[in-house]
């Protein structure tokens, strides 16, 4: 219990004194996770709408693959991205390995299947009578998608929240492709691993508390949007 209280006090001290290293780490974490989840949403939600609306051969297989991707261990994603970005890899020429962009790519690959899977479930849950109603009212394809997305908005925000949660809490992939380089690719999760290995439990726990605080603030903002029930 003593370590915990010490850690909380340490976290408060680090935040209050605007410790430059902690700020750099926290900002990187936020930047890569938010970028990854925004991109995952921009890709994932339209794909989910298509998957939920269209009938095509192999749809079950595609959904099965997406559900499998939702459960792929981050270290495996990290390894695959590493192999692609390493000097001899397919994208080695881009020189992205051990950069924040590589970390975004890794998190994007993890968050996208989550956003697709949860969003598709939310859209599939819309009652068939609402879709019939839109068709009957003469809505064209674009209008139907717009109203369905609006109707599934709570589920879609849950998808974004879940994707963000997976991204910001992830460590296995970004430590492989980012390298945990001080002031460059050191994120909160990778810093926690490092400080724990060094035996700096107070600092590790303090970073953990900052991580939870940031996740809480982002999730509260998304929950606020989600709970705005009535539109005019």
């Amino acid at each position: 219990m003593g370590v915990f209280i010490e850690s909380v006090l340490h976290a408060v001290r680090l935040i209050a004194t605007l410790d430059p290293e902690v700020l750099s780490i926290a900002w990187l974490s936020l930047r890569i996770s938010l970028t990854a989840v925004v991109l995952a949403s921009l890709i994932g939600i339209p794909v989910a709408v298509l998957l939920a609306q269209r009938r095509f051969a192999g749809k079950r297989l595609v959904m099965g693959l997406i559900h499998t991707m939702m459960a792929v261990p981050p270290v495996v994603v990290g390894l695959v991205v590493y192999l692609f970005l390493s000097r001899d890899g397919l994208l080695g020429g881009l020189d992205l390995l051990f950069t924040p962009l590589a970390m975004i790519i890794a998190q994007l690959l993890m968050a996208t299947p989550i956003v697709i899977g949860v969003s598709a479930a939310a859209i599939n849950a819309i009652d068939r009578s609402l879709i019939d109603s839109l068709v009957s009212l003469g809505a064209d394809g674009g209008q139907r998608v717009l109203y369905l997305v609006r109707e599934a908005r709570h589920g879609l925000i849950t998808a974004v929240v879940t994707g963000f949660g997976a991204a910001i809490s992830e460590v296995g992939a970004i430590i492989i492709v980012g390298g945990n380089i001080r002031f460059h690719t050191r994120a909160l999760t990778t810093a926690i691993v490092l400080e724990t290995r060094r035996g700096n439990f107070e600092l590790a726990m303090a970073l953990g508390i900052i991580l939870i605080g940031l996740a809480f603030m982002i999730n509260m903002a998304l929950t606020h949007v989600q709970q705005s029930q009535v539109r005019r």
């Binding site: 609402l130 019939d132 839109l134 009957s136 009212l137 003469g138 029930q229 009535v230 005019r232």
Partner: protein
Amino acid sequence: MKGRPTHDRRGDVIVGLHGIGRSIGTKRILEDITLDIEAGEILAIIGPNGCGKTTLLRIINLLDRPSGGSLALWGRPASWYRDTRLQQARLRMGMLFQKCSLFNASVHANVAIGLEIRGEQDIRRHVQQALKTVEMRADGRNALTLSGGEAQRVLLARMIAISPELLILDEPTADIDPLNTAIIEQALRALNRGGMTIVLATHNIFQARRLADRVLVMNRGRIVEIGPTERVFARPGERFTKRLINGEVI
């Protein structure tokens, strides 16, 4: 703005069905339905549950395709209505489904949907007028919190707002109380007086008698008989109709 519809000339045939059938797998839902619907009339379709009323309405609304026979709307065969023409035809109709199709949004937003789709101007005024017809107002409540009767009135207001030439209603007052039923029936009469053609499926034979100019009796996917309401109720031409009127068929 795509323009508000003008109603058809009373007596013109706006829907023509000839030998319509519909099967799902080996199951026959509708068989040999031949029927003309005239502009300005209220046609009630009555019959027991599962007799094919809903399927017939969905075919008229171009939501389902018949397996056989021919359908014409406003003098054009159903095959003519493709892509934008299909959408244009749907813009001339409105269908109130048996299952409550309210969105998780305010009463105003729910009524406004059809107007938004049609690109109408002055949506607020149309919504307020439509709600007034069903004795409701846009009070900011989420439509999902409404009672069954209020929900059905909001759905009818959605239809009133778009003022379709042909209004199709599938059991509009099933499971709602007499007061809400009376409000809905009153609104339907007013719409019909304004020239709107109404096709109404109901298993409430008293409602059919109160509202309809003509009654179509269905059983097991087939037409049993069709005729003016007073004649069908006073002198049913078929034994099944008589049993249905006497409450012997549910």
